[in-house]
């Protein structure tokens, strides 16, 4: 697959101290669905807007299908954006909105109308073609915005938090619809979101950003199972952290001494022995061991609190040494028929070594 977007050393400096994007290099393959993920202020929207041409990078180069487009204005770039507030023209009908972009491509009025109808059909809103945007619901407007962008068959489709204005149920529905749309039209999608669940479910590749830099770039499962930093580990899903010291390096793994006990991890570690380290593990990877059950890592603990959230139980436990961690257990049966841990009880936590992350240094609580 060819690279459709290449970002080389892109930076956006607002002043000497305020840096929006810091030396980001990124390649997007043709047909991929990539999300830029991060909290507000991390630079993801700025990066997207630079790809679209609405902001100029202070350093670096942007290539689109091999051509340098860094200084090319948006109306001459073969990319299209779906704006966060949809930006539908209120004084035009839905059909005219969609046809607007086709006129500048030189299509005749009749041809534009035909293609517009086609695009509306694709998103399931054919009957709305003569209505005004104000008459549509939020979800419908979003689909019109999509159609308006897609109808031009751009090389890349940019989406700026497209689902953030929708309510939860509609959002879940639209995630799936958008994924299907992507498969159908085959255009490269680059989407910005702050919702990690969204990124995981929709994207082929996730680029996690922190303070203007790329923290990690990879497939959703790689990010989830092998986070490169505590930031990524806690931004995608949740992670329990335990401070410790690297006790020993083993072939294909390591042992970390923590106040809660010795933890064995099955992950490549480059830290020297004796170095400060932090161990991380996800709540759902912990098991409350039944009497007689064993695991590669066993941590004695005391139940502090149990919270029921329908899907499962979130149990807070206190480990030796005082640290508190969370354990998530899915309920396979109704609550009444499940074994619910009692606060105050002494238990043992089981954790498999391949589910343990090891990071250098200490993580702020």
């Amino acid at each position: 697959m060819a690279a459709i977007i290449e970002l080389q050393g892109i930076s956006k400096h607002y002043s000497k101290t305020i840096i929006g994007v810091d030396n980001v290099s990124l390649t997007v393959e043709d047909g991929e669905f990539v999300t830029l993920l991060g909290p507000s202020g991390c630079g993801k929207s700025t990066l997207l807007r630079m790809i679209g041409g609405f902001e100029q990078p202070t350093h670096g180069m942007i290539r689109l299908a091999g051509q340098d487009v860094t200084t090319v204005p948006p109306y001459k770039r073969d990319v299209n954006m779906v704006f966060q507030d949809y930006a539908l023209f209120p004084h035009m009908t839905v059909g005219d909105n969609i046809a607007y972009g086709l006129k500048s491509q030189g299509k005749s009025g009749a041809e534009a109308r035909r293609l517009a109808a086609q695009a509306l059909d694709l998103v399931g809103l054919s009957d709305k073609i003569d209505q005004k945007p104000q008459q549509l619901s939020g979800g419908q407007r979003q689909r019109v915005a999509l159609a308006r962008a897609i109808v031009r068959r751009p090389k890349v489709l940019l989406l700026d938090e497209p689902l953030s204005a929708l309510d939860a149920r509609l959002r879940d529905q639209m995630r799936i619809e958008m994924k299907h749309l992507h498969e159908k039209v085959g255009i490269t999608f680059i989407m910005v979101t702050h919702d990690q669940e969204e990124a995981l479910t929709m994207a082929d590749r996730v680029v996690v950003m922190e303070k203007g830099r790329v923290a990690q770039d990879g497939r959703p499962q790689d990010l989830y199972d092998h986070p490169a930093s505590p930031y990524v580990a806690n931004f995608i899903g949740t992670t329990n952290f335990l401070p410790g010291t690297l006790a020993a390096r083993l072939p294909g793994g390591a042992r970390v001494a923590t106040a809660a006990g010795m933890v064995t991890a099955e992950t490549e570690v480059t830290l020297p022995e004796g170095a400060e380290a932090t161990v991380g593990f996800r709540p759902e990877k912990l098991r409350l061991l039944a009497p007689g059950e064993t695991a590669a890592n066993e941590l004695p603990a005391r139940i502090v609190e149990v919270i029921y959230y329908g899907l499962g139980l979130r149990t807070t436990v206190e480990l030796k040494g005082g640290a508190q961690v969370h354990v998530d257990t899915l309920l396979g049966d109704s609550l009444a028929r499940s074994a619910v841990p009692t606060p105050g009880a002494e238990v043992r936590l089981g954790l498999e070594p391949h589910n343990v992350f090891v990071f250098g240094g200490r993580v702020a609580a």
Partner: protein, 267 residues
Amino acid sequence: MAMKPSSSRLAADTALTTFVCLLMAFLYVPIWVLIAFSFSSSRSLTWPIPGFTLDWYRKLFANADLLAAVGNSFYVAICASLLALAVGIPAAMALHRYDFWGKTLFRRLILLPITLPGIVTGISMLNMFRLFGFSQSLETVIFGHATALLGVVVTQVFARLQRLPKSLEEASYDLGAGPARTFFRVTLPNISSAVVGAGLLSFVLSFDEIPVTFFLTGRDNTLPMYIYSTLRRGVTPEINAVGTLIVLATLVLIIISVVLSRDRTPR
């Protein structure tokens, strides 16, 4: 919150409502007086009115000078409003979009003629025109009005631009339209209510303008100048007739502007 109004509150409210009615009367009684006297058969303006006549209106329409002045006023008002829009809309856009050296001074200067006595605007522009060899004429009046009216246009259009989401313009760029096309097909239609309102207001203000016109006009009179010079010689009932017609025209204009501003509510 349902509370039983106390008697003191009731008294206060009644007093206030009475005040409001009296204020309305204060504002409108003089206008009714004007209209009443335009039909009075007596030359003097004493009360009660002796008889009813349409003479003054007849004399009005036979008055060639007056009719010429009205025509001049229309000419000046239309040109000045269009000019004010042509310069004011870009000015509002520049203030809304760009940051540049001297921006505050630029904005203050544009808004200055609103609070500054028209006499100063008139005199300063007269001197400028004289310096470059232009003598006073209706055309110098047009430029004077347009300058004074810029502030009106800029205020209205700027306020509307602030409420326009930036993403609409960006979406237009994104869809392949350059700056010119974006302005005419997206920006302008969405600020049209402000443009029409500002244009109408400018027209009315120009029609009624005196201080700037006083200094910049040559031999041709505008309507207010004509009325003013007539008034200097003494009050005549024809003036009442002119006044009534102006009130009528104003009413029509207000109705038009209300209707126009109601139709456009794309939110």
